[in-house]
């Protein structure tokens, strides 16, 4: 928890941001999006390290999953293999999902714009599938997971430079509370 203070400072900002996760669109996923915001961020002048429920440093919160662990992993150009960094993130995601067994997850695969549209749907599926298979290999029940590909239809970064493309080549684990996938 060495990032505690930093996390607390930015929790007020991120707590709201978590409600409008850029990757929340389409069907499903509605259950988890709002769970992080339960007020109270403003009156924290005297905070001394207590955990604010639902904030990014509450290990049970979606905000913790989305921000502290990180809800996404990135891929190299035209690749779907998981880097060591991506695996480290997914190890924590798997741990969180096993601890918080009320949550389901949809893994959304994406590609950058440097590819043809239909190929990119298949490529996004490969990335999402690789992510899902990794989570399953770490113990997450397969029936809590499914994946979908958006190809290049939903970039998070709109610039056309390598740095933006890198952020768009992603698989995002979108968690939601609920039963039945």
């Amino acid at each position: 928890m060495k990032h505690l203070y930093k996390a607390l400072t930015i929790a007020a900002v991120l707590g709201l941001a978590a409600c409008t996760n850029g990757d929340r669109f389409g069907a499903g996923g509605a259950g988890g999006a709002g769970a992080g915001a339960n007020g109270g961020y403003g009156a924290n002048g005297g905070v001394t390290g207590g955990i604010i429920p639902g904030s990014a440093n509450d290990p049970k919160s979606p905000a913790y999953f989305n921000q502290t662990i990180g809800d996404r992993v990135l891929f190299a150009v035209d690749q779907s293999s998981l880097s060591a960094e991506a695996q480290a993130t997914l190890d924590q995601q798997a741990q969180w999902l096993m601890t918080n067994s009320d949550y389901l997850a949809v893994i959304e695969g994406h590609a950058d714009e440097q590819g043809t549209r239909e190929y990119n749907i298949a490529l996004g599926a490969r990335r999402a599938n690789a992510t899902m298979e990794y989570l399953v290999s770490k113990g997450v029940a397969p029936n809590r997971l499914r994946f979908i590909s958006y190809g290049k239809e939903r970039p998070v970064e709109v610039c056309s430079q390598a740095s933006c493309y890198a952020k768009n080549r992603r698989a995002v684990t979108v968690i939601s509370m609920g039963a039945g996938v």
Binding site: G26, G28, E113, Q114, E118, Y119, R146, S149, V158
Partner: protein, 445 residues
């Protein structure tokens, strides 16, 4: 003498009696007047198109509009050049009056187009004649077309198709429509909906709303239906839409698996498309009558963007089974596939020419995108365009022009439709009201 041929409901055509039966006297060439559109470089053929004569009161504006669309169709090909009205010596005040060939020769018009328009009771009639100015003869027979007044653009396109056909020996493509994805909003929140337009961007009609992402529509062979991919259910699934009723339904392609990239067979009875399972994407077919499906490819690679040969015997598609996207041809029932692309870079979105002789594709190489064509065995590759992001070629019904999407880069980047002819000439933007992508050209109507 007028022989009426009934075409689409609103449009009819008729032959006119030839006006000039006299043999050519000033033959300027040996064969008939003809522009060869396969030649490498072309000097556009000069034509004159004086305003069509208004034969009923109030038809003047309609006559002018029709004449303008015909001229735009012809000059838009890059094969023809219009001689400005200001240069005309002769004035055509009656459709039946003799042509003053000397006046048209004097301004170096090779072709003269004369016509007349009448409008009565909500219907427009247009008749026209094409003249070989230097031979002093009529090219083909005079014809006339009729339609309801709101179908006047189709009349103009039909006339232009006739002129194009007589001067090139090829079928025209102006009286055709394009289905595409209309786009609005920024790149990270782009709203998409299906739309249909005339080939030149006029008469846009929307077929879906923008609630769901829609991708890559394709016309049925006779233009009555459209296949496309929609995220309406939350996942990409193939849909079929009836153009007349604008009703659509999902083509269930195996439970919740993602399905996409649907295209019709030349018969219109089969659909070929991709299904994703895990990391694998394969090509399947579905019989639209029975719903029976069949898996055509079996590799663990990404296989998508299929396209039938016009005779229905083969399918060209892209696969990354070699490690990168390349083009392959297989029998339409499945079986061994032959790789046809061997150049540097990645090849995708192959589309078989309606003439059967070529395959158009998207190529990515060294950070650039190209639209290109190759013979069906992969030989004679030619790149027609280059830009940071060109993709998704579609053929005009006569196989002479290709339309595609071009996206500009950066935060404010937008997608537009462009066309280019098979020789790589006459690259131009197609006007659409909003951003546009994924064009698919329909049949000649």
């Amino acid at each position: 003498m007028k022989k009426l041929l009934s075409r689409a409901a609103a449009v009819a055509l008729a032959m006119l009696a030839p006006l000039v039966l006299a043999p050519a006297t000033a033959q300027a060439q040996d064969g008939p007047l003809r522009i060869e559109i396969t030649e490498g470089t072309i000097e556009p053929m000069a034509f004159a198109a004086p305003d069509f004569v208004a034969e009923t009161p109030g038809a003047q504006q309609m006559a002018q509009q029709i004449g303008r669309v015909i001229a735009e169709d012809l000059t838009g090909t890059g094969l023809f050049r219009e001689i400005p009205r200001e240069s005309h010596i002769s004035r055509v005040s009656s459709f039946e009056s003799p042509v003053q060939f000397a006046d048209w020769r004097a301004i170096n018009a090779l072709v003269l187009l004369t016509g007349a328009v009448s409008e009565e009771g909500g219907r427009v009639n247009v008749k026209f004649r094409v003249w070989d100015v230097f031979a002093g003869t009529e090219l083909g027979d005079g014809m006339q077309f009729a339609a309801t007044s709101d179908g006047w653009r189709r009349l103009a396109h039909k006339v232009a198709d006739q002129v194009y056909s007589r001067l090139t020996g090829e079928t025209g493509y102006f009286d055709s429509r394009v289905v595409f994805v209309s786009e609005s909003g920024p790149k990270d929140q782009r709203a998409k909906r299906l739309a249909i337009m005339d080939y030149d961007g006029a008469n846009v009609q929307y077929l879906t709303d923008s609630r769901s992402i829609v991708l890559a529509p394709r016309f049925s062979p006779n233009g009555d239906r459209v296949l496309y991919t929609s995220y309406e259910t939350g996942e990409p699934q193939i849909h079929i839409l009836n153009v007349g009723s604008v009703q659509s339904r999902i083509l269930s392609a195996g439970g919740s698996a993602m399905s996409f990239a649907p295209r019709f067979s030349p018969s219109g009875n089969q659909v070929v498309y991709s299904v994703n399972q895990g990391s694998n994407t394969d090509i399947h077919t579905m019989d639209l009558g029975s719903g029976a499906t069949r898996q055509l490819t079996q590799t663990p690679a990404i296989e998508t963007a299929p396209s039938y040969s016009p005779d229905g015997s083969q399918i060209v598609f892209e696969s990354d089974r070699s490690g990168s996207q390349q083009l392959y041809v297989m029998p339409s029932g499945g079986g061994e596939a032959t790789r046809i692309s061997f150049g540097q870079g990645r090849y995708g979105t192959p589309v078989w020419s309606p003439r059967g002789d070529m395959i158009a594709f998207t190529k990515q190489h060294q950070g650039r995108f190209h639209i290109g064509v190759m013979r069906t065995d992969g030989s004679n590759e030619r790149l027609l365009t280059a830009s940071p992001l060109d993709e998704g070629p579609t053929w005009a019904p006569n196989g002479r022009v290709i339309m595609f999407s071009r996206e500009t880069l950066g935060a404010s980047g937008t997608s537009s439709l462009y066309s280019v002819d098979v020789a790589g000439r006459t690259l131009k933007r197609v006007r659409t009201p909003d951003g546009a992508s994924d064009p698919a050209w329909g049949p000649l109507q």
